[in-house]
Symmetry: C2
Subunit: 415 residues, 2 copies
Amino acid sequence: MRKINTRDFRRATRATPRQVNRQILLNLVREHQPISRADLARRMRIGRGIVTTLVNELLEEGSVYEGAVADPPPLPSPPLSTRGRRPTMLYVRTRDRLVVAIDVRFSRTYLLLSDFSGTQIALETFGTLFKPDALLDELAGRVRTLLRTHGAEGSCEGIGMVVPGMVDRGGGRVLNAPQLGWRDVEIRSGLAQRTGLPVHVENAPAACALATIWLRPGGGSGIRDFVYVAVSDGVGAGVVVDGQLVRGHGHTAGEFGHIPIRADGPRCLCGSAGCLEAHTSNLATLARYLGHELSPAVARELLRGSGLTVEDVIHRARRGEPRARAALEETGRYLGLGLSIIINALNPEQIIVGGEITAAWNLVEPAIRAEAQRRALTQEAAATPVIPEPPGSLPRLRGAIALVTAPLFAAPQVG
Amino acid sequence: MRKINTRDFRRATRATPRQVNRQILLNLVREHQPISRADLARRMRIGRGIVTTLVNELLEEGSVYEGAVADPPPLPSPPLSTRGRRPTMLYVRTRDRLVVAIDVRFSRTYLLLSDFSGTQIALETFGTLFKPDALLDELAGRVRTLLRTHGAEGSCEGIGMVVPGMVDRGGGRVLNAPQLGWRDVEIRSGLAQRTGLPVHVENAPAACALATIWLRPGGGSGIRDFVYVAVSDGVGAGVVVDGQLVRGHGHTAGEFGHIPIRADGPRCLCGSAGCLEAHTSNLATLARYLGHELSPAVARELLRGSGLTVEDVIHRARRGEPRARAALEETGRYLGLGLSIIINALNPEQIIVGGEITAAWNLVEPAIRAEAQRRALTQEAAATPVIPEPPGSLPRLRGAIALVTAPLFAAPQVG
DNA sequence: GCGATCTTGTTCGTTTAGCGAACTAATTCC
DNA sequence: GGAATTAGTTCGCTAAACGAACAAGATCGC
């Protein structure tokens, strides 16, 4: 029930059905590999003849490759019948198709060389440079040597870059990244020129959502409506509706960090008071633990001065320190309040929480769940699963990978 | 950048391009009528030959009709050149295609006989019956006589019904409508059987959003990302992303009424405290004017007992009564706070506000705008237009019409 | 007034993608 | 070893897009 955009539509040509079916087929291989042509024909309710031609096209362009014929009967998924000719299995080519993922954070910048399936090849780090040009020079140099040392100069298909701030993805401009002090910085063309590779830039929580859509372990679990809530120095979200990231009219959808949840709450870095972020960010938890109200001055002092981090607070809470436990629990309570807003407003199938706080999940979960349920309107909404991102999964870097790979697997736009 | 749903996809067939292009063409006629075949060919960047065959198809099935040849030069839109053969203009057939729109509200139920373009033919009202079966009997009888007296028995293409509560649109079940006291009431099949017409049921704010997508005056103004906020006895919203209504996993998206905005706010009918609805609904404004805190008991008393309505408060405010003005202004302030959450979370291109309060727009707008801007993160977000639904436009009934007409014009789903 | 020019709308032959039936290949069962 | 069964390919048919040619209706210039 989508209305056609009569100002900017894509009309169908004679080649459109093939493009559509080709892409469906490619995605079926992606999610069910190893899979045979005959099985694809059954799943698509299409003749085997067409599958042959579509697969040949994909083989020729190298998106897919043929495995050996499944020799012995002991297959992981048992064939319907044990009789008849054995199928030749198909796989998507991921091994020798590489991506460079970049995660720019306040303190350090991460570079990952990875293949299309998300398998890590090399990971390196350096202190973030805050001058855009200096950072781009450094990055371009490191990308070059990274590709050279791994003999991957020809097989890298693009660079995905994740930034803590709002991004005009189409244009590749960073609109506002307060942590880096950037405003209206054109980033894409600079890196693309320096490296000769296509570059994609995206906001961090949005990228995490993309990683969840495209690289979730057990890919086709079929969850197409969810919100990824990223809790770190800031609090942001990636909203996914029908398998598609919602970016908003001005590219700033998902900024849940600055929704007001308490009129009398502490002043936030954004200037308002009572923001969700001022109650649930790592800084807020830290400040609460130290007994401060979070004001910009205090926040900066905490960032620079005391070497204490949230990880330390979590550590102390695990050891049983009551003040640390209380600080985390209160963060959980406010986070639950924030999630209840998301549940009421968007009714997602699932909410995924990422960030350092997931390391203390068993400490914060009860508070989150209690508060979210208390505010839910229906039983189904109250039962909305809230799931922590598994530790060590590098969601931002995986999101950067997805920035490059997703366009090759996405549905062709029609209508 | 949508991910293909490998569990439930629509593969393209040989006929798909035609379906897609036919629908694009139909929508172009809808939004640019009168329009010629040659002009359609130019807009679609397609040969005139195909346009002829597509138009013939639409003419045959009666979706479109030919007007007279544009005889004299004085056309509303001046042709590119004054020379050459005159075009025959095309129009979508709306006059003799009828819809029955039904709006069930707490006090009264409205029935409207309308054509596809939204032109009203007959409007009638009766006191709402709270027993589902009794209401359906009454409705079926009235629909029958309405169609008979207007000689429209053959030309009615469906019934659209709008309900104050959550609706499983696919199944036609009302999940929860507290104002009517309904829970899990199957409504569609009952009315469809009684009338022999296809029936669509939808939640009121969502229907208002649909009306805005499909029947907005000056249709193709190109706004495809907006939120319709309906402020009446309750507060709800219809969220539209890329020309498509977001319904959520459990059909309850858009329930902005019960997001918490103040921890210490008054208790709401839903059981929680500090809900947006408890601060901005008509009842809340009324209670504030009367000097009460809104509790369920007070609310019920206000509904039944005193004959005072929001309209009265607005009237008194217009006459200059300070307490009435203050009550409305505070409603505006809280509403602006609520809108700032929507702006941050979804970054729509525009927000439309509907409900009785729009009659006092010039009194509430400054407060709304000030509060919304104060919370916005970017200048663009702060400039998000907040527009009142024009008075007397019957948005819920127009939404009910759209429920029937929209599927005929919507983009065919592919992929 | 008449031909040149221009625009609209139709027709028709060409190309190509989907579709289904027939065919080959490989394997198991009896 | 032949019947049965499944996988994969080939090939002819059909129908839709595409583009060029054509007919129809209008204006302009001489």
